[in-house]
């Protein structure tokens, strides 16, 4: 009898799609309302079901990655993929020093974040996936219209950034079981380079208009959601080799067996 139970349990655990502890499954949304309004997304954007890491990638995780992939070590990484401040807060190429294993890794470029996720058989989340996930709070999938939710997130931006970063996962999990989407760090997204928000050349008129092909002027659909708008402004101002002291990442992946 016990043997049978064990067998059933084993089968359940090995079944495709069985949850891994580090990943949360998100159901998606057929018509998610982004804070960004492109001309072609007025009716919402389809977010397919996907998985997202429950916490941002930590120094400990990233150390294991650079050990296995020396071309991403500080001092070895090609300059074209990461600027000179890449991992400068670590004591050495393989020594996080005062940066604890449980703190989120920061000062990583978009290229490095992408390479890390690829090494896990994953990818960076798209902006829309990140925004959709980050709309949740502890009890609701979309808490964005709640002024108290907005207040709480905005308060984080008022914290001095000199304060040491908390460990990953130290804030309560949201309704999906995900931690730290707000209140800890900024996070890279796969399509950071598509957030055509910085110095919107379309407004300048004249020859500059030719820089853009097709429709898609970007405006803010929800101007009250400052916290999320600040994210997009920040990401759109960055180059892919840039690093900052508050910018890290987490990975996403498609659901096993899902058609892309």
């Amino acid at each position: 009898m016990n043997g049978l139970l064990a067998l059933v349990l084993t089968a359940a655990l090995a079944a495709p799609g069985a949850a891994e502890p580090g990943w949360a499954k998100l159901p998606g949304n057929p018509a998610f309302r982004s804070v960004l309004a492109y001309e072609d997304t007025r009716d919402g954007v389809r977010v397919r079901p996907f998985e997202l890491m429950r916490t941002p990638v930590s120094n400990g995780d990233f150390l294991a990655f650079v050990k296995a992939h020396p071309q991403w070590q500080r001092g070895r990484v090609a300059a074209v993929f990461a600027e000179s401040r890449y991992l400068q807060h670590w004591a050495g190429a393989l020594d996080p020093g005062a940066a604890s294993a449980q703190q989120p890794v920061v000062q990583v470029s978009w290229f490095a974040a992408q390479a890390y996720c690829e090494a896990q058989g994953a990818r960076l989340p798209s902006w829309i996936e990140w925004e959709y996930a980050a709309a949740a709070d502890e009890t609701r999938e979309d808490a964005r219209q709640d002024p108290a939710w907005r207040e709480r997130i905005l308060r984080w931006y008022a914290n001095p950034s000199s304060r040491p970063l908390a460990d990953v996962g130290s804030q309560p999990a949201d309704v999906h079981g995900i931690h730290d989407l707000h209140g800890l760090i900024w996070e890279w997204v796969d399509d950071a380079g598509s957030l055509l928000m910085s110095a919107d050349n379309r407004d300048q008129g004249g020859a500059d208009k030719l820089q853009f092909c097709g429709a898609g002027a970007l405006s803010a659909a929800d101007r009250e959601n400052y916290a999320v708008l600040m994210r997009t402004a920040m990401l759109s101002a960055l180059q892919a080799q840039d690093v900052t002291a508050n910018l890290g990442f987490r990975c996403a992946r498609d659901l096993a067996g899902a058609t892309p």
């Binding site: 990484v77 090609a78 074209v80 992408q114 092909c213 097709g214």
Partner: protein, 194 residues
Amino acid sequence: MTFFRNTLSALLGGLLLATAAAAGGLPGDSVYQLTAGFTDQDGHDFHLADRVGKPQVVSLFYTSCRYVCPLIIDSAKAVERSLEPAQRDRVAFLIVSMDPARDDPAALRGIVDKRSLDTRRWTLARTDKAAVRQLAALLDVRYRELADGEFNHTSALVLLDAQGRRLARTERLGGAADAEFVDAVKAALNAAGD
């Protein structure tokens, strides 16, 4: 004597270049550090590092684009025309599609034929979606796929030196070639040796 010295230094430069490439010794700030595979309009596979040796004018486009993309090719052609015939043979043009789902080699070939691009100098190429993002990031071209399959994107010509390092860019499209950019191309050709 000057001629001899130039020839010698060009030869030595060539040797050094060959050695560096053989050793995988690309400069760290070379765009050719991107190791993704590309395919050209004739179905030939290549890597960016294969293009070491000649300065390149690089840009992104997609074949079904009706408005700005033809201007991208126009602008690159204007740069080509503003060079002396002898200079033209020492520069290459690489235009990569941001629409890998639709732009197969046949679609790229169609543009080569339609625009009468000389494939001794011109390469239209495709790669996978992830590599397009990476290349776009390296060239600082921003783009977003729209719901209807069109793309919203910034447009630029980027000049790379013989080792793939970024030297200059222009976002001025249409009309005459950007004189400053053309000067940069000529300077790169001089630096690459006669």
